[in-house]
């Protein structure tokens, strides 16, 4: 089966602007190589985690896959389309590090936003409006926030806000979900719960998931494959990817798995790869 997410020898360099000085500009324009020679193919239904030290370019990879940034070099496709097109038609969907909810909209209106943007005349057609509102209600039920539909975001906890963001990301029924450290700001217990919820959605909706995190345990617990990145290209592989760790632990995953020796073994492998990634820079 062919890959649903494909990145082939992708490189991304940011232009670092010259420092403006008091008398004209000083210093030269510099290109900062953030991602080098990044090759990754994700099969349909696969759960892939990307980990690496802070500033290694994980968010950049995700932004490339969401079409928010363009690669400097290489070929990239999501669902056989350019990433920006895939995300605009709703084949893929992004969840950012912060929930990015609009504080002037209630939880349900935040979830409704993608539908509203896709169909500007939604309001004038009552049956369609009812259908959309039903969709939103179901999504909020999925993330267990039904009773909080009318709440404004500032009245919700951090975990609840991120769940609203997940519901919003599912509104257009995407095949591919791209997540950037979505639970990074949450405490461990909440994070575990959110992980289980995400795995349930992954099963129910047969999603393909690319999940960025900096926690090895989280990565191993969730994924089928962990991609370990280093800051700058690794001398050994000549690419930003230091190593891939295959996680062939059985599904469905339960929290008890975290006590399992096989789990520890995978975490150890991941940690070793991460050490190599640290050495690389």
């Amino acid at each position: 089966m062919s890959a649903i997410v494909e990145m082939e020898r992708i490189s991304k360099a940011y232009e670092v602007a010259r420092t403006p000085g008091l008398l004209g500009r000083r210093g030269a324009d510099r290109a900062l190589d953030v991602v080098t020679n990044f090759t990754l193919a994700v099969r349909q239904g696969e759960f892939v985690c990307v980990i690496g030290p802070s500033g290694c370019g994980k968010t950049t990879v995700l932004f490339l896959l969401a079409g928010i940034r363009d690669p400097s070099d290489g070929r990239i496709a999501v669902c056989g389309k350019a990433p920006a097109d895939a995300v605009r038609v709703g084949l893929s969907s992004v969840i950012f590090q912060q929930p990015i909810l609009f504080e002037w909209l209630t939880a349900e209106d935040n979830v409704l936003l993608p539908l509203r943007l896709r169909d500007p005349r939604w309001w004038w057609w009552p049956p369609r409006r009812a259908r959309y509102q039903e969709t939103v209600r179901q999504l909020l039920r999925t993330v267990e926030l039904e009773q909080f539909a009318r709440y404004y975001p500032d009245k919700l906890s951090g975990g609840m806000q991120q769940r609203v963001a997940i519901a919003r990301a599912l509104t257009l029924n995407p095949q591919v979900l791209l997540l950037d450290e979505p639970f990074g700001a949450l405490d461990e217990i909440t994070r575990d719960r959110m992980n289980l919820e995400l795995l349930r959605l992954y099963d129910e909706r047969e999603l393909t998931i690319l999940f960025v995190t900096h926690s090895i345990e989280e990565a191993v617990f969730l994924s089928d494959r962990v991609v370990v990145m280093s800051r700058g290209a690794s001398a050994r592989t000549g690419s930003s990817i230091v190593r891939e760790v295959r996680v062939d632990l059985p599904r469905p995953r339960r929290l008890a798995l975290k006590e399992d020796p096989a789990f520890f073994q995978k975490v150890r492998e991941g940690r070793a790869a991460l050490r190599e990634a640290q050495v690389a820079d």
Binding site: F63, S93, W104
Partner: protein, 273 residues
Amino acid sequence: MAQETLRPTSQVRVPARRSPFADLGSWTIFAVVLLAGWEIGSRLYNQPYLLPAPSQIIRAMGEDYALVLDYARITMQETVLGFVLGAVAALLSAMLFVWLPKTIEDFLYRIIVTLNSTPFVALASLAVVWFGLGITSKIIIAGMYTFFAVLYHTHKEFISVDPMREYLMDVYNAGWLQRMLLLKIPSALPIIFTSLKGGVMAAVNGAIVGELFGAFEGLGYMILDSRYVGNTVRVFLAAVFCTLIGWVLLGVVTFAERLLLPWHVSMARGKSS
């Protein structure tokens, strides 16, 4: 937002939602003390030409109320029309600026900044020359004052929306108008209202300045005319009415703000996020 929940609760000031009449009592005491002090002071000083007492101002009001109320109505009319025109023009211009290509936006912006640093009084006297001594020139001047008070901050707020929110709109394929209505305007509204409050006071100023430069009616004309004949009491009376107009309009804008911004955090809590 996220940080908010991490702060210890003792540091988050959460005053109970207060009714607009809650501190009416303390204001009344303040006003009574101030007026009494003024009354006593001016009687001791005993120079009505320089500092008339409040009782004298009230007596003048009793004598001239028909004229004063008529003039106040005229000035109010100029102020309101100028404010509405100026505010609408400023909001539309801010939107237009965002819509235009960057180079043209830059160019127009420079014009605005230049005009903004020209003394308004000079522009106001020009407006009287161009539009005559009637009400039109006053409306235009009040509108101009409002326009500059509102445009600068609104435009700045439109272009400094959190880039992650812009990405979110990109990702969901939002059009220009959708982005404006669903993201930029709502996130700028708190600042827009703050600048509208400044704009309302500026509009009162503009209308008065316009009348000072040449008019046959209105509170500004009354100030100028009374000063020529040495009637300081009436100058004070006109000034009091100018202040009242400002308060009334400020109240209207504040009321609209409460109506439109139920989500706005700074109204429910202390100014924190």
